[in-house]
Symmetry: C2
Subunit: 444 residues, 2 copies
């Protein structure tokens, strides 16, 4: 090897070496920051750390810290219409930000080109990793029996509702099978059942007043959207086919009483983890032929379900299960503890605002034992089913005048005195809701 020139003393080498160290350390710090920035993807907001910090504070204190934040913090907020007519689950963003890279998905461009995931599976477009995490999560939470079930993945649970209607109806029937659900039912059921003018199935309204002979399909939503109550089938006849929509049967919304054990149950990441943008839902199906027909529906409808979102959903479900299993051994809290506490906080604030005046009322729930948390808890639904009391006949219009956009009772087959309000929006929007409901009651 060539000898170093004499002008390089040990002192020179040390300075050089230290400089190299500094540059390497700086580069690592820079790259680490870059790695967290999500690459080419746009970022929402700029004050990540603050949001998390404020939210954690909000959860750990009682109601005060969120209440101290007022509209004055949000210039122009007074005139803004706050949109709570959809159940857009953006409030969970705080938790997923704090999880950092644990749920970051990386997919190289050459992967998942094929239509097929596993041709030996009835649901040939189901990714094995996603199916594995679905089974694991139900076991961790204890909210559904998965043994002896076929898993069918869907582009959200909406597609699975349609797939189930298709699978449970018969093309040979002389008339479309009746589809019913008890009032107040999920507002989209009627249009989902009718928009294709299908000869296979047809919306037939309220399950409680349904008295037509012959076969029917009953949609049982439990906890119910919009009112949050636990439900069982209303029509009690031998020819009934049941679809259990269990989108909200998760510990942050309702006590888990026992693993659900139905012929056909539907779940979705939109409401369980808050990843509505993924459009991923799943069905647990007992009957093999029904699972085959649902798969056929999805084949004809969309030739399968996004592999990218299935893989991302698998990673998110895994993180949720991990967070539950590791809660006691580490200092992090589980996803369900976080979301349960946030929902508790919000419901406390909402009830306080509503009870401060006489204009509105909310459903009352009895507490019951939750096997997941191992304690008694009250339901704290994803939607508030608010009733306008007194002379206000059209609650939706009344609240719209006060810049609160909600979904009126008519959409759910119920009285216009009711509205459904999303409880899953951002902290900012939720605070504005509380402020406005309080202000309305002070004014009137």
């Amino acid at each position: 090897m060539a000898k170093l020139p004499t002008m390089f003393s040990l002192r020179h080498l040390l300075v050089l070496s230290v400089a190299l160290n500094v540059s390497l350390i700086l580069r690592m710090m820079y790259e680490s920051e870059e790695g967290n920035s999500g690459c080419c993807l746009k970022r929402k907001g700029n004050s990540e750390g603050n949001v998390i910090h404020q939210s954690r504070l909000a959860i750990s204190s009682s109601t005060s810290s969120l209440m101290n934040s007022t509209r004055a913090d949000h210039p122009g907020g007074r005139d803004r219409m706050i949109k709570l007519d959809h159940g857009d689950p953006t409030m969970y963003e705080i938790f997923w930000r704090e999880m950092g890279d644990k749920t970051t998905i990386i997919i190289p461009g050459w992967q998942f080109l094929s239509y097929f995931s596993d041709v030996s599976n009835i649901c040939w477009f189901l990714e094995a990793e996603f199916a594995k995490e679905v089974v694991r999560l139900h076991k961790v939470v204890g909210n559904a029996v998965t043994e002896g079930r076929h898993i069918v993945v869907g582009t959200g649970s909406s597609q699975l509702i349609l797939a189930a209607l298709y699978a449970l109806s018969s093309p040979e029937a002389t008339e479309p099978i009746s589809v019913v659900s008890a009032i107040p039912y999920y507002s989209c059921y009627p249009s989902m059942a009718n928009y294709q003018k299908s000869g296979l199935y047809k919306w037939a309204g309220d399950a409680e007043s349904f008295d037509k002979d012959g076969p029917y399909i009953e949609l049982v939503t439990s906890p119910n959207n919009p009112d949050g109550y636990t439900r069982v089938a209303m029509v009690n006849r031998s020819q009934g086919l049941l679809i259990h929509d269990l989108a909200y049967y998760w510990p942050q919304y309702t006590p888990i009483s026992s693993p659900s054990d139905h012929d056909l149950s539907l779940f979705t990441v939109s409401k369980s983890t808050g990843h509505a943008g993924m459009r991923i839902g799943w069905a647990l199906v007992k009957d093999k032929e029904v699972a085959k027909k649902m798969t056929k529906f999805i084949e004809l409808n969309t030739i399968g379900v996004s592999k990218d979102s299935q893989l991302r959903a698998a990673k998110v479900l895994k993180a949720v299960s991990d967070s539950c299993e590791q809660e006691n051994s580490q200092d992090g809290e589980s996803f369900f503890k976080f979301s349960y506490m946030l929902m508790t906080q919000r419901w406390k604030q909402l009830r306080a605002a509503v009870e401060a005046g006489g204009l509105f009322t909310l459903p009352q729930f009895s507490p019951s034992f939750c096997t997941f948390f191992g304690q008694e808890m009250e339901p704290q639904p994803a939607f508030a089913w608010l009733k306008c009391e007194g002379d206000i006949e059209d609650c939706e219009s009344f609240l719209r005048e006060h810049k609160i956009l909600t979904r009126g009772g008519g959409h759910f087959g119920a009285s216009l005195k009711y509205v459904r309000i999303s409880m899953l929006d951002t902290d900012e929007t939720f605070l504005q809701l509380i402020d406005r409901l309080s202000a309305i009651q002070r004014q009137e």
Copy 2:
């Protein structure tokens, strides 16, 4: 600052510093490797480099290198059923592997929680980045006018076909609108139009023999699936509504004559870039009300389209456009040049195998000028529309006996003497097809 103890000489410090440098460099190398490993995702195969190398050789030589690879390379291959009944576009994997990290997508767990992408857009679930790259790619390729068009994204173009049927039909009509397409038509059209027993639209068969009065919807597939010919509308009446399915109007399959300029055109990444697993398609729609109704359909069907896949598709389309624009300035080849050469190679091999005997024939195409490549070229479709000559009346059954699974002419409204064979499978499967067709002709 505290003074260093005298036992630490400059020499000691230098050794310490060099050791720190080495550890930092090693750590950076390790982390860099980790970042490229694709995280939790499973990898297909182990000899990435070889596959690419072989494929490039295969393309750059004429037919010899692929032909020299025989079934002997694949033990057990002789008895395997080769499945070419679907158009699974796995042959493009080679190109995307070579692109490396350029099309790797990274999505943090907290992003894209919301249902909404842009509430000010008619298609409120359309990601702006994806829309931008769609417009850019059409401009780069010159295969579609995008000015004055609304983009509607769908879960594959299958969902968009259904959305278009819904949008172009009327719920007030006394009977379902007729849906037609010229024989041989895409085999899924009849079941897609009929599986819901919709009162809005109904399959009415061959467009050429369609003679019913009143409104109708014609599906114009160009180049056509299964036979690869360029098509225009067959029914020429004033009350016709047209859906142009342009899934294969890309330079690797057919000469680009001019930018398509229709009321409603459909495209998909499945066939353009080979990313069938993403389930992403798009519609270019002239009429605002039609775009609104298509969006409404997708809202009721799946409440939007996977954001993850839209973002990944945007990255892939960007890479394709970049590869076209940078072709002359860099040593890489464009995606379309790669795929064009691969298709040319495959069609040459297929025609050679078919022409070596008298059992089969293939469609013949006239060359025409391709504005993208700036030269004359022949169509080289994604499917081979093979005809069994002589006494073989059921070509699908005949080929199945020889372990080649194809889709028979009956599915396309055509004679059983025809089959559709995918030209988009892996090199290995394609080589087995060539081998078997050659062997059949030698035997008979």
